[in-house]
């Protein structure tokens, strides 16, 4: 009848932010309100069919986006796609030097040797890592053997005000998207990395290890295939028997890092590789509360300063540029956080440093540095 019935899930939106014990309330509301929506759709049907705004006229529909089409040379053209050697999109890069220098989100590409870059003109190239800065979650790389690229034109992010339009790119830099500065610029503290498990030291048959008694929705542990009642034996090369130690070993690492986990399942020892994520988001989405978020970044916190905007993007769009309506780059998308939030590193937070990395790389001559 309406889009309502075709949707997989609906949710009331008074959520429990950090304390997730309340998710029952939320679920109850889901059930009650899907009924309400059906009910009102019945009445809508009994009246005349009501007009719905066609997708192309919506805020990020084609007709609205035609406003920013003049910005293409300053936005889409200065964006490249980082993909796996098999062509799977990983993240987005911002071109910062005509001679092949690009910046992207470091935690998305722990190993640049296994990735390549594809430019708007469809040229591809291998990537040479120049500098990795965990503090900013940025990596500077150079596309090998590429010249004549359109580099971004930089502006200042300081004068940005709440409600100011911003423009960015989605789908590996193929399409523009717009949104606004949606909240105050600020620092985002970090809480370390997490697996997304609840643990108990009581193990069956006195096995020396830590038993998993709960797994968070869409968490690193769930994605890696860990299950309840698996007994963790070894984390990143260290034998574990206390849940505190598991927490310590995991928490001190960077979100995005991959660790090896050895565990016991039904008396059989197995090993898996787990890609860690920011603890804050794992905790906040324990029961899938932020279910309709379109995917979030593994690292979504621990930034010295961010701009927050409401441009509808995906984790693979991170690393791309954020511009004003004048086409000046004011930030670089650094984390897809939840359904309503994307963080961008303001230009001032990285550009001075990035220029130094490029300068140091250009002199001495590259021949010395090429692997």
């Amino acid at each position: 009848m309406t889009s309502a019935e075709t949707c997989a899930r609906a949710s009331g939106i008074s959520n429990a932010s950090l304390e997730l014990r309340h998710s029952f309330t939320l679920r109850k509301f889901v059930i009650r309100h899907s009924a309400v929506l059906l009910l009102s759709s019945f009445f809508a049907l009994a009246d005349t069919p009501l007009p719905t705004l066609p997708p192309e006229q919506r805020t990020n529909g084609k007709q609205t986006l035609s406003a920013v089409s003049p910005l293409k040379p300053l936005t889409l053209d200065c964006t490249a796609r980082i993909e796996s050697v098999l062509g799977r999109p990983i993240c987005t890069a911002t071109i910062v030097g005509a001679d092949g220098y690009v910046l992207t989100k470091a935690s998305e590409v722990p190993d640049l040797d296994k990735a390549r870059v594809r430019f708007a003109d469809d040229r591809t190239a291998a990537l040479r890592e120049v500098h990795r800065e965990a503090r900013l979650d940025l990596v500077l790389a150079q596309a090998v053997g590429i010249t004549g690229l359109p580099a971004v034109s930089l502006g200042a992010s300081k004068p940005l005000t709440l409600g100011q339009w911003l423009c960015s790119t989605t789908d590996a830099g193929k399409e523009p998207r717009i949104g606004i500065v949606s909240a105050a610029r600020r620092a985002i503290p970090g809480t370390g990395a997490a697996l997304g498990i609840r643990m108990d030291e009581k193990t069956p048959k006195e096995v020396k290890g830590v038993r998993i008694i709960g797994i968070a929705s869409e968490s690193p542990a769930e994605i890696a295939g860990l299950q309840e009642n698996d007994v963790l034996l070894n984390i990143a090369g260290e034998a574990v028997a206390q849940y505190r130690r598991v927490h310590e070993l995991v928490n001190k690492r960077q979100p995005g890092e991959v660790i090896e986990v050895r565990y016991l399942r039904k008396d059989k020892e197995e090993t898996c590789r787990v890609r860690l994520a920011s603890r804050t988001k794992v905790l906040q989405n324990w029961e899938g509360e932020d279910f309709a978020n379109g995917g979030i970044s593994l690292r979504s916190d621990n930034f010295p300063e961010v701009l927050q905007h409401d441009i509808p993007l995906y984790p693979s769009d991170m690393g791309g540029p954020v511009t004003t309506l004048e086409g000046k780059v004011v930030g670089l998308n650094i984390a897809r956080v939840d359904r309503v939030t994307t963080f961008a590193l303001p230009v001032e937070a990285f550009w001075t440093e990035a220029q130094q990395w490029i300068k140091a790389d250009r002199h001495p001559p590259k021949a010395v540095l090429v692997k």
Binding site: S17, I31, Q308, V340
Partner: protein, 331 residues
């Protein structure tokens, strides 16, 4: 703020009038102009001009069940929020203002069928910052720009309230759908038009990012007095006439066809089936859905309708006694 007794009827007629106007405008819709940068800049200027006026009226609400938002709509501290936030009348709620100061409110009445609720800040003597609500529900039409405020994820002093700018996608009898993206914690927060009036209260989301549902001002205005008296409304459409229990569509042959029959409704008990074509009601020929709805709604519960149907090529006539719409049993 008092609602006139005959308001429900007025509301229905406004809705119908609006639909007629919508029909007239439809031929022009495909010619919607390409948006230009000047339009976007104008939207930005308007939002930024309104923000300092409307932002102080936004509040964060904390209940035992989680965190949500709300908006103050009178100097003595009357608050609009979503019904699933307090859940019941008489509930104490912790309220946080923009500057971080904390106060308390008590929930008044709520409309559980549409998710509309009223609450009252306990310190009534204080002149609270407030915004007006829009009484012209019908003006919130698809394509209009709007903006949303709220505390997604809960109150965060360093972040402040979160703004979203978007467009109205759809208006239904009790709700607005927009592409202002919402999430947990936004519930009860305000959706504004470009005169800075509240046109919606954030209520629920569906999977896609442009599926964000707000309670429109219609249920607030319709049930204002009941909600002020801390009553709970569990029946949709009291005063909208008797309850028949069928959903209709216009068939390919441009006939009024029964799309669905609600279980245990008077229509089902009388033998109306999906696929039947409705020919007449009380000897008046039925040609469209609007006429049919108006005819049914003009009768009260207890009245009997004579409905002429065609099912499977055969015409038949039924007598259906209209009922009160049943209460939701999910509580």
């Amino acid at each position: 703020m008092q609602t006139r007794p005959s308001f429900r009827l007025i509301l229905i007629s406004i809705l119908l009038a609006g639909q007629v106007r919508g029909e007239e405008q439809r031929p022009r819709a495909p010619k919607a102009p390409q948006t230009d940068l000047a339009t976007l800049r104008r939207i930005q200027t308007d939002v930024q001009k309104l923000l300092p006026q409307v932002r102080p009226a936004l509040v964060a609400i904390q209940t035992g069940g989680g965190t949500a938002s709300g908006v103050i709509i009178s100097a003595d501290g009357l608050l609009l929020t979503a019904a699933h936030v307090p859940g019941d009348p008489g509930k104490d709620m912790r309220v946080i203002l923009e500057d971080g100061s904390v106060t308390t409110a008590k929930s008044l009445g709520l409309d559980k069928t549409t998710d509309a609720a009223l609450a009252q800040l306990k310190q009534r003597e204080k002149p609270w910052p407030f915004v007006k609500l829009s009484r012209e529900v019908i003006k919130a039409q698809p394509g209009e720009w709007c903006f949303a405020l709220g505390h997604p994820g809960g109150f965060d002093k360093s972040r402040g309230p979160v703004l979203r700018v978007g467009k109205i996608i759809k208006q239904t009898a009790n709700s607005l759908h927009t592409d202002c993206v919402l999430m947990g914690g936004d519930s009860g927060g305000p959706l504004f038009n470009f005169t800075g009036e509240v046109i919606g209260i954030h209520s629920q989301i569906w999977e896609n990012r442009d599926q964000n549902v707000h309670v429109s001002m219609a249920p607030f205005l319709r049930s204002w007095e009941a909600m002020q008296k801390s009553q709970v409304i569990k029946i949709w459409g009291v005063g909208a006439g008797g309850y028949l229990g069928v959903a209709t569509v216009m068939s390919d042959d441009v006939e009024l066809e029964v799309a669905d029959v609600i279980d245990d409704s008077p229509a089902q008990k009388a033998g109306v089936r999906a696929g039947d074509v409705i020919l007449s009601v009380n000897d008046d020929a039925m040609t469209d859905q609007q006429q049919f709805t108006a005819t049914v709604r003009s009768k009260a519960a207890g009245d009997t309708l004579k409905i002429k149907l065609r099912s499977g090529g055969k015409e038949r006539e039924l007598a259906v006694k209209l009922a009160q719409k049943p209460q939701e049993d999910s509580e």
